[in-house]
């Protein structure tokens, strides 16, 4: 159980408690002003503020203590856990009813779709099925509003990029693109965001 310091009764305590966020510019205007006014006349708290940088350095050293985790090893264990039937995503309570009603319709549509389709795609996007190969997209890209189809097409061609899937619900596209192409996309004024999807470099 933590003891709450009566901050309003000790201005120095209140100000020093805020200094880490003050140094990062993360306080609201009111608190920022209060701290600034206090610092003007308080040498002790100015000394505390001056200690923020060494404090960060100190913690950076502490941060280097443990070796980083192994993402792929952790993910492998997670996959093994996910194979167990009891760890499927928990459906909301209305879901069984909805699934029951939808099941027949989905099965029928799926059957019709499979009949009509014999050219399976040779890629898998982020929304690929659970049993599919890992993601084969390199980057997630969002274009600025108003970008025309022609401008988009020319940009992708210029950067050697191809669309894997998209747009997502938030208007993002999944692309296959070389790392140099990704850099080119990032530099383009048409692109609002271009982020690599994989921890490894883009192919």
């Amino acid at each position: 159980m933590s003891v709450v310091v009566p901050m309003e009764h000790d201005e120095h305590v209140a100000v020093q408690a805020l200094l880490p966020w003050f140094a990062r510019g993360q306080l609201g205007d009111d608190e920022m002003g209060e701290v600034q006014r206090h610092l003007l006349h308080c040498q002790a708290c100015r000394n505390e503020l001056a200690a923020e940088r060494p404090m960060q350095t100190l913690l950076n050293v502490a941060d280097a203590l443990p070796q980083g985790g192994d993402v792929e090893a952790g993910l492998a264990k997670m996959r093994a856990q996910m194979q167990r039937p009891e760890v499927a995503p928990r459906a909301p309570r209305w879901m069984p009813w909805a699934l029951g009603l939808q099941g027949a319709a989905v099965a029928m549509l799926l059957g019709l779709w499979l009949q009509a389709r014999d050219d399976a795609p040779d890629y898998q996007g982020l929304s690929a099925g659970a049993e599919s190969a890992p993601v084969a997209a390199d980057a997630l890209v969002m274009f600025k509003p108003g970008t025309s189809e022609q401008a988009l097409r020319e940009l992708l061609q210029a950067q050697g990029a191809s669309v894997v899937a998209g747009p997502t619900e938030t208007g993002a596209w999944l692309l296959r693109v070389e790392s140099s192409g990704l850099a080119g996309l990032r530099a383009s004024p048409l692109v609002a965001l271009a982020e690599p999807l994989q921890p490894r470099p883009a192919r």
Partner: protein
Amino acid sequence: MLKWPSLKKKRDDGVAAPGRGPASEQIELALLASIKRGQRADFETLYRLYHPRLWRFLVHMLRHGDLVEEVLNDTLMVVWQRAESFDGRSKLSTWIFGIAYRKALKALSRQDLPVDADDIEEPADPGPGPEQQLGLAQLRVRLAEALAELSPEHRAVVELCYFHDMAYGEIAEVVGCPPETVKTRMFYARRRLRLLLDDLAGAGQGEP
């Protein structure tokens, strides 16, 4: 004379941290929407995005590698199984860190884990800095001791502020306490670290 790097210097140890702006949040929410539909590939993308951040957070909370991995996977398993329960009232990262925080406290309550500073490994390239004057290993042992004196609740506040750039209101959401409590924890945690800092600066000045 000790020389300190900038407060805003790159803090990651080689791991490219994902961006934390609105665009990044949008991407994460798109992934979550897909996870709600049971898409494993999207879950794995989110897993890769969060693994470095959660590892860093949990390793300072728990300070025990095996337990860190277990709690980290338990945390992301909740994201996989209960993505529907995220209601969007907070940032997705706040929700996930909140799960990790509660899981870590529960794990600590199950096991009384001492901090064994002798087990701490040194990185291959520690780089220059004041630690060279004191001896890197010695400095890290003392840091480990100082951090171990803080409660997990206090360590969490320090970690989320100094390494995850969270404002105190967001930290309050993660740890589930009033903002005033976060400030209080920061005051005490900071005071303890400040003592160590003074101690180190004094030792540095005493060196030839």
